[in-house]
């Protein structure tokens, strides 16, 4: 293997989630998302992860994996990867997809509405995710979006 090809292979390797309790691969089909959320919740609940953190993980999957499935692909079939690692005081959630580049950490928060009449209808998903995580880091590796989120357990 050439050095260039080796480097590319290393960069694309699933380094994420090596010690994860939850590892999921799901097609970019919204019908698979509900099952993925339920499986992640069940596995983390069995490991005594706190309810608040379980809710946060479900929200992350619903919002960010849901967004990737809805907007990341132009009708092409693909697979998204999720890894969740419980740690002493938090959970590390890693999301990988091969959709179009999208960095949610740079997504501007919606303007604070003063009344129901001037409230925008949508655009609150990333704002809601930001509220339940203590850190969020995005990298584009090769042709993949890699997102790491830290969910406090208390």
């Amino acid at each position: 293997m050439s050095r260039e090809r080796q480097l590319r292979a290393e960069e694309r390797a699933p380094r994420d989630g090596a010690r994860a309790l939850v590892r999921l691969e799901l097609p970019n089909d919204l019908r698979a998302l509900e099952d993925a959320r339920a499986r992640a919740r069940a596995a983390l609940s069995a490991a005594n992860v706190e309810v608040r953190a379980l809710d946060a993980v479900e929200l992350i999957l619903e919002e960010l994996v849901g967004n990737a499935i809805r907007y990341g692909f132009d009708g092409e079939t693909s697979v998204l990867r999720v890894a969740i690692t419980p740690r002493a005081s938090d959970l590390l959630v890693e999301l990988v997809d091969a959709g179009r580049p999208f960095d949610p950490t740079g997504y501007p928060p919606p303007a604070k509405p003063k009344s129901i009449a001037d409230a925008t209808v949508g655009g609150r998903g990333i704002q809601m995710v930001r509220a339940v995580v203590s850190a969020m880091r995005y990298r584009r590796r090769g042709d993949e979006n890699h997102l790491e989120l830290v969910v406090p357990r208390r």
């Binding site: 509900e34 929200l59 604070k112 129901i116 409230a119 925008t120 209808v121 509220a131």
Partner: protein
Amino acid sequence: MNLDVVEQTARLSCIRLEGKLDSTGVDQVETRLTALLSKSGDAILDLTDVSFLSSLGVRLLITIAKLLDRRASKLVLVAAPQLVDGALKHSSLDEILPIVGAVEQAKAVLAT
């Protein structure tokens, strides 16, 4: 996601939702809920038994609130503390809609 019409008169609709108000839940109740609330005056949405609220659920609540606002009617939410301190606050919905802890409190808000 379950939807129960607790009360519906010409002046007030009180509707209770139960389950997860996520993309699946919204698909299940959006058409019926919107139709029910297009008929009469003010509305109370009892979310006490809603265990999960995603941004699509928030979108539905804002859409309904705007529908009522355009005809000078009001929407009051009833929700448990977990939902108030979580999704309702994180989406800033608590800043634009009245949220109380019981249906009777919601009726009192509408009476003022």
